[in-house]
Amino acid sequence: MRIHYYLDLDEKTQKIKCRKCGRDICHGSENYKLHVPRADVYPDEIYGVRPPRETAMVIYHEYYCPGCYTMLDVEVSEPDAPPLWDIQIAMPKHGK
């Protein structure tokens, strides 16, 4: 099952995997963002009209596929914000 532009939930293995490189990322019942590299980026590092670093109240948390380093998400939030569990598919209960 597709769950994202770049991510599938393999219904056999119940793993979330990258659609581009096939890399298994984590079990479908977990927040994939806890299992992929994240970089904290000030908005003004990205070209365009962005909040300047001195006054930026939020930053960009970039998440990458650990296999092909495709950018999976750019989360806008406070600097210390934990990874948001933005996609949580209901998984079948174990043993069924």
Binding site: L72, S77, D86
Partner: protein, 670 residues
């Protein structure tokens, strides 16, 4: 997996219990809800014919509104709605420019029945008017008129029309005053007076309104437009009853709602169960204080054929970026109607599967008297749109429908009031918010967003060209164009939004104010690896420029930088501001106001965008060469205006290498 809802939150989506009895309301009997729900269902053929006719009636009535009103907001922006409701006020058929108000206007009918049902009563030929934001609209500009339909001594339906009427007699002209610090600052609020009683226009009631606005000319046109819509629809509705009989028409009004619910629930069942979450932020009036974050989060849980939206939000804001709970639900409805249930007939039926929980006393559920002039929380629509897009991935059938959120905070930054060049007082908002970018799709759908495609809350909006706008109001445009580098950069990019600058012309007196929004923080994000669009532009306020001399040379300034250069050369000032600016007088031919919007959200990693598409973006002035190189990793041979493939590969490898260097697994707060 469940969503735990805190007890202090308010559940907005509800239907009162069916019990109750018939009530006499003056002009006839109001049937109980149980009675209404038990109307015999129509055959499939009868239902198809009658529901189509009702939909046509609503659309014809809305067209009547658009053609009678001369207001640019209504006639061009499309901010007019017409609805047919059941006897208790639940929407059955809808013709809608303003998705925002579809559910919200229902509160108006309940208010009329509650407050006036027994005294003075509700009669055939009455037309009620409300614009109380805490009851049924969003802000005081949302003006609704409604009329009951009786047949054989029984109330069988309501008809309602709504326009965004800009001048509300508020503390500033133009309807959405930046300086409002209370609902009391936002103009007159009408609580259900009868502008027509038993078929007779009530001139005293109408004069109360006309004498409370700075712009009686446009005001009365909007009011007459709404009444025209009601008259057209009532004629058609009565003809429908005559032809098919009241029992079938009454049954169809209910069956429409049930059918909408059935379609909505069927679609929900075809999607995976799960929860999707997203975070957004609001600007606030910074004034002299240090700004702080106003944060909104939403968790959307879909289980079976139910959808639960659980909001957390801070606030209320000290200024007008708030809404009452009916407004918050309207913002949710914009996303649900346009992104999830777009193929379902627009009515109360597809609201039934949705439950929205919103905390008390936040910016989305503000305490009474909180100012709400500028619609708090357009990010709500964007956040829900983002959640819906994520959910739609779970069924390939809906991949073509996936759509990133549209332009951020699609609200006007500038509004004006004063004397027109034609010699009458007027006031309004500038119409550029309807030239906002639309969100990106994916490979199987629309791909890139549409540049200056429209406002999400008014999906069929358009704006008049510059010449028509200059004819209507006392302004000349220095520029209006798609802004460069403001679209969300991604594999599929968001649509670019408009930038513009105006100067007063040929007017003895005019004021211009600026509401500001989305210029300090990124309100919401793009999807699946795309960057957020640029911030909305800060306001540029030029004073005392010698523009006449510049025009005489055949030149027109084309950017804020050129205005600044002009000020340095020949006197004058240019202030760049992030905070809202109350309406202030502007001088004809010497002062300029300039602003613009960030574009819409993209989808996917910018490094996956084909270099040839990026080149086309440069040629179309959507992205700059610098943006192409630094964000998309696309290097252009400027002499040949071709993609330099070798340098592009190197630039993209460098960006990827940088990602490998910077990226680490999150291990908790440092």
């Amino acid at each position: 997996m469940t969503t735990q809802i805190a007890e202090e939150k308010v559940l907005y989506t509800y239907e009162p219990p069916l019990e109750g009895k018939r009530t006499f309301i003056g002009g006839g009997w109001l049937p109980s809800r149980e009675e209404v729900a038990s109307y015999k269902r129509l055959s499939a053929v009868d239902f198809e014919i009658l529901s189509y006719r009702m939909n046509s009636i609503a659309n014809e009535a809305r067209q009547a509104i658009l053609r009678v009103s001369g207001s640019p907001v209504v006639a061009e922006g499309g901010e007019a709605l017409f609805a047919i409701y059941d006897p208790h006020g639940f929407t059955s058929s809808l013709a809608c420019g303003l998705l925002l108000h579809t559910a919200g206007t229902q509160g108006n009918i309940r208010e009329v029945l509650d407050v006036q049902g027994q005294s003075p009563g509700v009669y055939d030929g009455d037309i009620f008017m409300l614009n109380e934001p805490s009851v049924g609209g969003y802000h005081a500009c949302d003006q609704w008129t409604g009329t009951p339909i009786f047949h054989d001594g029984e109330l069988i339906a309501w008809l309602g029309s709504l326009t965004h009427t800009t001048e509300t007699g508020a503390i500033e002209p133009g309807g959405m005053p930046a300086s409002a610090r209370s609902l009391l600052d936002e103009g007159y609020r009408v609580q259900g007076i009868k502008v027509q009683e038993r078929g007779q226009i009530n001139r005293a009631a109408i004069n109360c309104l006309l004498r409370s606005t700075r712009d009686p000319a446009y005001y009365v046109l909007d009011l007459r437009a709404r009444i025209a819509g009601l008259n057209v629809a009532k004629d058609r509705f009565m003809a429908l009853i005559k032809r098919y009989g009241a029992d079938k028409v009454k049954a169809c009004v209910q069956q429409n709602i049930d059918y909408g619910e059935e379609m909505a629930r069927a679609k929900l069942r075809s999607l995976a169960d799960g929860a999707w979450r997203i975070v957004g932020y609001l600007d606030l009036d910074v004034g002299e204080k240090k700004p702080s974050l106003i944060k909104i989060t939403v968790a959307m849980t879909k289980k079976g054929d139910d959808l639960i939206l659980d909001f957390n939000a801070t606030g209320p804001n000290p200024n007008y970026y708030n809404c009452y709970i009916s407004g918050a639900f309207g913002l949710i409805y914009v996303a649900v109607a346009s992104q999830l249930f777009w193929e379902t007939p627009g009515n109360w039926g597809y609201i039934r599967p949705i439950k929205a929980y919103i905390p008390r006393n936040c910016c989305l559920n503000a305490p009474y008297f909180t100012p709400v002039g500028l619609c708090a929380a357009f990010p709500v629509t964007e956040l829900v749109t983002g959640c819906i897009a994520k959910m739609l991935y779970t069924n390939p059938k809906y991949w073509p429908d996936i759509n990133a959120p549209w332009q951020r905070n699609c609200v006007t930054p500038m509004y004006w009031g004063g004397m027109t060049q034609h010699g009458y007082p007027s006031g309004s908002i500038f119409s550029e918010p309807w030239a906002a970018g639309t969100g990106a799709g994916i490979d199987e759908g629309r791909g890139d967003g549409c540049d200056t495609g429209g406002a999400m809350m008014t999906v069929e909006s358009s704006i008049a060209d510059v010449e028509m706008t200059e004819l209507q109001g006392p302004f000349l445009y220095l520029w209006r164009r798609e802004g460069m580098d403001n679209a969300g950069a991604g594999r599929w990019r968001g649509g670019a939004s408009v930038v513009y600058a105006v100067m007063p012309h040929n007017t003895p007196f005019v004021t211009v104010g600026w509401t500001s929004m989305g210029v300090i923080v990124d309100p919401t994000q793009s999807l699946d690896g795309a960057y957020p669009p640029a911030l909305n532009y800060r306001g540029a306020w030029a004073k005392g420029l010698n523009l006449t001399e510049v025009f005489q040379k055949g030149q027109i300034p084309q950017s804020v930088e050129e205005l600044q250069k002009l000020a340095q050369q020949s006197g004058g000032t240019v202030d760049i501001v992030a905070e809202p600016r109350s309406a202030a007088p502007m001088a004809t031919d010497r002062d300029v106001g300039a602003g613009g919007f960030g574009g819409a959200k993209g989808i996917g990693d910018p490094l996956d965008r084909e270099p040839e598409r990026v080149l086309a973006d440069i040629e179309n002035r959507i992205f700059s060469v610098e943006m192409a190189r630094r964000v998309f990793g696309v290097v252009i041979d400027l002499k040949a205006m071709k993609v330099d493939l070798k340098s592009t590969e190197a630039a993209r490898n460098e960006i990827k290498a940088n990602r490998r260097k910077k990226g680490v697994i999150w291990e908790g707060k440092k």
